[in-house]
């Protein structure tokens, strides 16, 4: 059970988030303020927001649990799986999106290819986000039920109420700025846990020696690179091809929730710097979430469920007060994921579907209103659909896996679209559709194609390769747009224009 002071901190956290979010209402005067924060946000806030949106409550517990079971190789997801992609995004892709004054990535695809590509990409994201919202609500509420004993419905309604309140009123400014607070709390609580944990296990050298001496199954725990035939889900082949080459880049460059934050930057320098600053913070994340999992091997050996490692460490290592702060960080993780989904889906719907198809040329106030209403409807839908997840135990993994499938083809057309001026609209359209189709087939018949149980890293790689090859071949046989139309959208054309 939590101490009174811990409960007080959690309740104060909820109340504070609502007050803070409502305060940001004063900065929302038009749709650009609501969706892009009026393009006035600084790099440090955006960088923090990018990092914290990437960590949900599930990741907190899941990464510690995987570190408990498989060791440091899980850190690859935040190190090699994020940092190079964030640097690539900072120097190559983000400047394009920012200079183009875009709201969404499908908007870029629409300008580079055609309206069909924009609509398919946008609808895919909207569907994914809308389904993910309910799944996320349920998965996190179940987790909090286990950790804190709160009824599932209480967690859902409480978090939905708080997140919905500040996202509805404050738009992306509230989303980014509440993320800043969430990251600071997460880091202070997390580093305290790691510091006290090291004190408890006798330091790094003692921890390594003790874990190695626990048996043969722990000999690979400190090997960052795992062999291709490893029993863990992180073989080096999957990490390199699936994660580093495709999923990480697709996530950091092609994911609306991430890119939209960078578009809120006050200028191009801030947009680039936000990703670089985010990358530097990202390198610290494994320290916060992975190390407690490793320490728990010594302090709580023999756990059948590795996901209990982090909650046990928090309860046994941290004093009252900081326990409340860390559980607030759990909520923070969930809230930052939900607020990102809400705001990004509202942006995608308003800009890519409502504005071009339903009501063209309306006033800015009207689109602002649509964005707010969409946020509200999504929230209600998320709460209502969340119990469906309980009937399908594998739905959380399925929805997350689906993301890795369509991100590959989407990234392939983004990559070719920016770097090869001869990529045609029909190439992009067929690459996207066939790439997603191949991912679905590979997943459906995964037993025939792959030897490991959960081959999502390999599927994302092959769907990317398919999308890339199809786009390339179809582009060779169809007519590209004239250079004039592609200035500002294709890399070498823009370089030529700025350096005549």
């Amino acid at each position: 059970m939590l101490a009174g002071i811990d409960l007080f901190i959690i309740i104060a956290y909820f109340a504070g988030m609502m007050i803070l979010g409502y305060y940001f209402k004063r900065f929302v005067g038009n749709s650009e303020d609501y969706f892009l924060g009026g393009r006035t946000l600084p790099f440090w806030a955006i960088g923090m927001s990018v990092v914290v949106s990437d960590i949900g409550a599930m990741d907190f517990v899941g990464v510690s649990g995987q570190a408990y079971r498989f060791g440091v190789s899980v850190g690859n997801f935040d190190w090699i799986g994020s940092v190079p992609a964030m640097l690539l995004a900072a120097f190559i892709f983000i400047p394009y999106f920012w200079r183009g004054g875009m709201y969404t990535i499908p908007e870029y695809l629409g300008k580079r290819y055609n309206r069909s590509v924009r609509t398919i990409a946008s609808l895919t994201w909207i569907t994914f986000f809308a389904v993910d919202l309910g799944v996320l609500f349920w998965a996190t509420a179940v987790l909090l039920n286990v950790l804190m004993g709160w009824p599932v419905w209480l967690s859902i309604l409480l978090t939905a109420g708080v997140v919905g309140f500040y996202t509805y009123f404050g738009g992306i400014t509230a989303v980014v700025m509440t993320d800043v607070v969430q990251l600071i709390i997460m880091f202070v609580g997390g580093f305290t846990l790691v510091f006290l944990g090291f004190h408890a296990v006798g330091g790094w050298d003692a921890m390594v020696t003790k874990i190695h001496s626990m048996g043969p199954e722990y000999q690979q725990h400190f090997h960052l690179i795992q062999p291709s035939d490893t029993k863990s889900p992180f073989p080096w082949t999957g990490i390199l091809f699936g994660l580093t080459f495709v999923m990480a880049n697709a996530y950091m460059i092609g994911n609306q929730t991430i890119v939209q934050r960078c578009l809120t930057a006050k200028n191009e320098w801030h947009a680039k710097a936000s990703m670089i600053f985010g990358a530097s913070l990202k390198m610290l994340i494994p320290v916060l979430v992975m190390f407690p999992g490793l320490m728990a091997i010594i302090l709580h050996p023999g756990l059948t469920d590795g996901d209990k490692a982090l909650p046990l460490m928090i309860k046994n290592i941290l004093p009252p007060g900081l326990v409340g702060l860390m559980f607030s960080a759990f909520f923070a993780g969930m809230m930052s994921s939900v607020d990102s989904l809400l705001n990004s889906t509202a942006t995608l719907f308003t800009k890519d579907i409502y504005e071009p198809y339903i009501k063209k040329g309306a006033t800015d106030k009207h689109y602002l209103h649509v964005g707010k209403i969409t946020t509200l409807i999504l929230l209600i839908l998320g709460v209502i659909t969340s119990p469906i997840s309980s009937k399908y135990p594998g739905i959380y993994v399925a929805v997350q896996t689906f993301l890795s499938y369509f991100q590959g083809p989407l990234f392939s057309i983004l990559l070719l679209g920016i770097f090869w001026k001869k990529t045609t609209q029909w190439g992009g359209l067929s690459g996207l559709i066939i790439g997603i189709g191949v991912a679905v087939i590979l997943n459906t018949f995964k037993g025939r194609f792959f030897t490991i149980q959960d081959p999502f890293l390999y599927v994302s790689w092959w769907s990317f390769v398919t999308g890339f090859i199809v786009t390339f071949i179809v582009s060779l046989f169809t007519s590209p747009y004239p250079d004039k139309k592609l200035v500002g959208l294709v890399y070498n054309l823009t370089v030529k224009k700025s350096n005549p």
């Binding site: 101490a3 009174g4 002071i5 007080f8 901190i9 104060a12 956290y13 504070g16 007050i19 803070l20 305060y23 940001f24 004063r26 900065f27 005067g29 009026g38 006035t40 946000l41 600084p42 400014t173 700025m177 800043v180 607070v181 600071i184 709390i185 202070v188 609580g189 305290t192 006290l196 006050k266 941290l318 004093p319 009252p320 007060g321 900081l322 409340g324 702060l325």
Partner: protein, 85 residues
């Protein structure tokens, strides 16, 4: 070069946001410091104290910086809603 009124207003908005953030983080720092007497032993007390002071420092520092910049901008009315009209 003297900043324009629009630049001043943008800077003022950024500082008002920082001020609100600082206030929130400072509040949490104080709450963690309040938790010090509720801790069982010396280590727990010191842990809460250090974490609370760090949070309060970040919050207090942010407020101090934001207030200093707002003062240097020399804008009489600090409510952005009023500037829109």
């Amino acid at each position: 070069m003297e900043p324009t009124d629009i630049e001043k207003q943008k800077r003022q908005k950024a500082m008002q946001i920082n001020n609100a953030l600082g206030l929130f983080i400072l509040f949490f720092g104080i709450v963690v410091i309040i938790a010090v007497p509720f801790s069982d032993n010396y280590y727990d007390k010191m842990t809460n104290l250090v974490a609370g002071v760090i949070l309060s420092g970040i919050g207090g520092g942010t407020i101090w910086y934001a207030k200093r910049v707002i003062k240097s901008l020399n804008i009489k009315n600090t409510d952005p809603k009023d500037h829109e009209s």
